[in-house]
Symmetry: C2
Subunit: 220 residues, 2 copies
């Protein structure tokens, strides 16, 4: 079975929100994620429910069925493989690839995906540090914590960022923060949750809660 680009985008959005906030996923949360109206979301949820891709209860929100999860996972696999391709093979930087991958993920050819996977040497993580599901949909898990959960003095290596907006990633570039960068937490200000950090044993920055909460590190 195969699905429209729009249906696929809804399934992926539901998957991502469920990952962040748990189930059930609300109509409004989906509308916000996809920059569309709540009314449109309701329409689509009813359609996806008929196709057995989601379990939907009026006014109560929605949850992916195993079929729905399968579709979402394959989309995420395609998105992250294409992002890896763009960065590794075509020389794009991590802040340029999201929108292009957003288009490429809807290309329908399982053979292409698997050939691409092999061509890239079966990468486990994409350029933003997010795990790439294998052809069976299995994610490689990695112990990661949000930057602000480090204690003062502790050092972490950046392994993922959860916000892929171009502006956010460009900002990180200016702070010299990339996947693999080491960051030492100097001090936390409870007042506004801002953090003083030291990047790569050299530059010190004061960063807002808004910036730090999307950076994930592995303690070293």
């Amino acid at each position: 079975m195969s699905f429209s680009t729009s249906e696929e985008n809804y399934l992926k959005a539901i998957f991502k929100i469920a990952e962040r906030k748990g189930v059930p996923v609300s109509t409004n949360a989906i509308a916000k994620e996809l920059h569309t109206s709540a009314a449109s979301v309701t329409d689509m949820l009813q359609k996806l429910a008929e196709k057995q891709l989601v379990q939907y209860r009026k006014y109560r929100g929605v949850e992916l069925t195993s079929d729905g999860k399968e579709v979402a996972t394959q989309l995420i696999r395609k998105h992250r493989l294409w992002e890896s391709f763009l960065v590794e093979k075509l020389g794009f930087s991590w802040d340029e690839v999201h929108d292009i991958a957003e288009q490429l993920e809807h290309i329908d050819s399982p053979l292409l995906v698997n050939r691409l996977d092999a061509f890239l040497d079966f990468p486990k993580f994409d350029p933003h540090g997010d795990p790439i599901p294998d052809r069976n949909g299995k994610f490689t898990l990695r112990s990661q914590i949000p930057l602000h959960q480090l204690s003062s003095g502790e050092v972490g290596i950046v392994i993922a960022v959860q916000n892929h907006e171009k502006g956010y990633l460009t900002l990180l570039d200016e702070l010299d923060i990339q996947i693999g960068t080491s960051i030492r937490l100097i001090e936390t200000f409870d007042f506004d949750n801002s953090l003083k950090i030291e990047v790569s044993d050299s530059r010190e920055h004061l960063i807002s809660d808004h910036i730090s909460k999307n950076i994930y590190v592995r303690k070293v």
Copy 2:
């Protein structure tokens, strides 16, 4: 400006028919090429005319404007670059790539196209031997003649095939005919325009007019 997948497909179809049969291009020819109804074609032609992509005269057929040609050429460029990528980098064979490239050609990112071009080392011809327009839309021309225009005894090198249907290409594979294969014309039967040929100085075949007319060679 950017166009829907459907609009793009119409522009490409008009371009290809004009190449084969000249202008103006008829409504029915487009309907046949796109497997759609004549009525749908008329609708779309009126829309494309409003956008200044075609010059359209009721009942008289249609012709691309320079804007329309530009869009069509860039699509062909993308299609052929992606086909080259699929064959050269991912190990597909020439009879598997058309449908996938048909999807990939609608990905909208000029930067991506040019990076892909560079990654492939600026190829001049695709796996079917067709010229790939450069970023300015210029095609490299090559003196090619249809196989049946060889005289008896003459030898040609296959440089292009004009039909990209999977079944046709698979048939050519079985005859050991690929880009670069040398073919000697032994004899032409005027009765049904079938040809007796010798492939790669070894195998002899009798091929129908239907097969031969899509094979283009360069005399040696």
